[in-house]
């Protein structure tokens, strides 16, 4: 891996490769409805938190399952698209 690049470009949780550890860089709250945003916060989504995509229901673009902290959370892709992450340079 090219270690000379200082920061890996930010991608959304929706496109983050499976099993790639990352940190939440920013969450675009404006894309989320009020209750949705609140539940996302309650589930622990916040800047700087570790996330990882565990599973994607590939058939017909179903939901994704991701690890946040020590918890597994299911999300729809639209919500995952609002979560920007920076992959850990491993």
């Amino acid at each position: 891996m090219d270690m000379s690049r200082p920061v890996v470009q930010s991608v959304s949780l929706e496109t983050l490769p499976r099993r790639q550890r990352a940190q939440v860089a920013a969450i675009d709250w404006s894309l989320l409805a009020g209750p949705e945003a609140r539940r996302l916060r309650e589930l622990g989504f916040d800047e700087g938190v570790d996330v990882e995509v565990l599973h994607r229901a590939t058939l017909g673009r179903g939901p994704i399952a991701c690890r946040i902290g020590r918890m597994t959370v299911a999300l729809r892709r639209r919500v995952a698209g609002a979560i920007h992450v920076s992959p850990a340079a491993a």
């Binding site: 309650e42 399952a65 299911a74």
Partner: protein, 616 residues
Amino acid sequence: MHAAPLVALVGNPNAGKSALFNALTGARQKVGNYPGVTVERKSGRMVLDDGRPIELVDLPGAYSLEPSSPDERVTRDVVTGRSSFERTPDAMLVVVDAANLDNHLRFALQLIALGLPVVVALNMVDLAERDGLTLDTDVLARELGVPVIATVAVRKRGLDSLRAALTAAIGGGGVKPQPDAAEPITALQRRARHIARAATVSEAPARRWAHLLDSVALHSVIGPLLLVAILFLMFQAVFTWAAVPADMIDSGFAALQGWITDTLPAGFFRSLLTDGLIAGVGAVVVFLPQILILFLFILVLEASGYMVRAAFLMDRLMATVGLSGRAFIPLLSSFACAVPGIMATRTIEDEKDRLTTILIAPLMTCSARWPVYTLIIGAMIPNTQLAPFVRLQGLVMFGLLVMGIAGAYAAALILRRTVTKGTSSGFMMEMPKYQMPRLADVGIGLWTRTLIFLKRAGTIIAATTVVLWLLLSYPKPPADSGIAQVSYSIGGRIGSGIEVLVKPIGFNRDISLALLPAMAAREVAVSAIGTVYAIDDTGDASTQKITDKLRGRWTLPTALAFLMWFVFAPQCISTIAVTRRETNGWKWPAFMVGYLFAAAYIMAGITYWLAVFAGL
């Protein structure tokens, strides 16, 4: 003034609250409902070290004090002392999952800020240790400012220390919660993470084995196949495992009937007991084993953590009708009974989503329909072998099940575009850890269901059967008139009135008579048909089995129309009542009853006339 102090058991969903509740109270618990909302109220008694009894109430799991669903609202109202049905707790027992501290501590911090005496149970420490997580309870207690006890509820570890801590914490009571000291959620979350980090002695990466299980259960191809296999096994088990105990119950009731017939002199009272009460209640109690097997599967699927995986797999499909995977869980429960199914919709946050789920839940083939389906199919459909393992009777049964699901799918599609129109809600759910379901917890769940079912059989069903028996037995026709008893009775005359309405869809007078009492509960249709024929027949005919009587009187198109009617018809007082409570008014239950009866009438009519034209 209440004698026993009230302690509220509060925590996040999946913190192991119910297991802790069961461990602390044992079987001494009472399940009821909060009035106005169908949130179950579970309370039990325990005795403190100094001999004081306390009442422990298990509140619904919540993520914060800002409720987003009706059950979270109950929790918020009780702990803030705003509930109109529950007195203000004297103390709180806050349960947090040791393996999920950063998240669960946030809610714990909110609860502690209320100012009531608090004891924190750091639950499931064994699972955390297995995951390589070591925590320091002293640091945690210091940071939170309240006693923290490490527990493993399912192994009854730490319960003595917990009781001791509660004994010390519960004072004279009278502390008022202070709900105003609200801190923004993000700030709380950061404080929770900070405390969790401070209390963590060592940490290994999260559970790899659980991820491995998930890579099978959530696999795009294997996952759905596994889900179908589990559901198939469930329905298979309901029909095969239940046969022996059902036969035993059946012969038990038959023996009781025989004993009463031999003991009591013939007359009003004996006839009421045997033909009315025992025949009616017995016809329903026979289905207890099937219902328990269904609930066994549902309880195990829930306790193991698989249910949310199933919801994950179903989300895409549910999204096509504007629902989310979350709705799958109450709908699956509705196969056992729509009442707990509708109650389970309280976890659905989106109001429109929840309403749609409630409105289609009665279309799932609940266990009360099986007596009806089994009787009619057994009597009227030949059991031809169509292919290896496929018989016509089983196929018709399966067809009715699929018809219910297809009807629900179509109904949701239409409802979401008309009366419950709204933006499609999301799907966001915590996926709990996989866990071995505990025998004792499943046992308590089944026992509760048994009591509810038997209570129903002993009250609603017994009462309607007896009323029907009375209506059909009186007045007696003149001895030499040649008029059949049933036709002459009050019930018979009511039946003839209804018959005018249902004749176009192929129903006869016997069905019309059975439909009315079956409003109480669908399975009453079976006992009602039995009662009609028992009263109507004299001499040889009365010894015939009910299936033989049906064969002589019903045509196949009538039978098929009757079956189709029961796929849709909302014939269940309990479902209507629970819908009224759940939706706070008569508007939605009235709508539900209306659209389902219309669907039942149309579909039964179509079935009847198609069958007639097909020459069946």
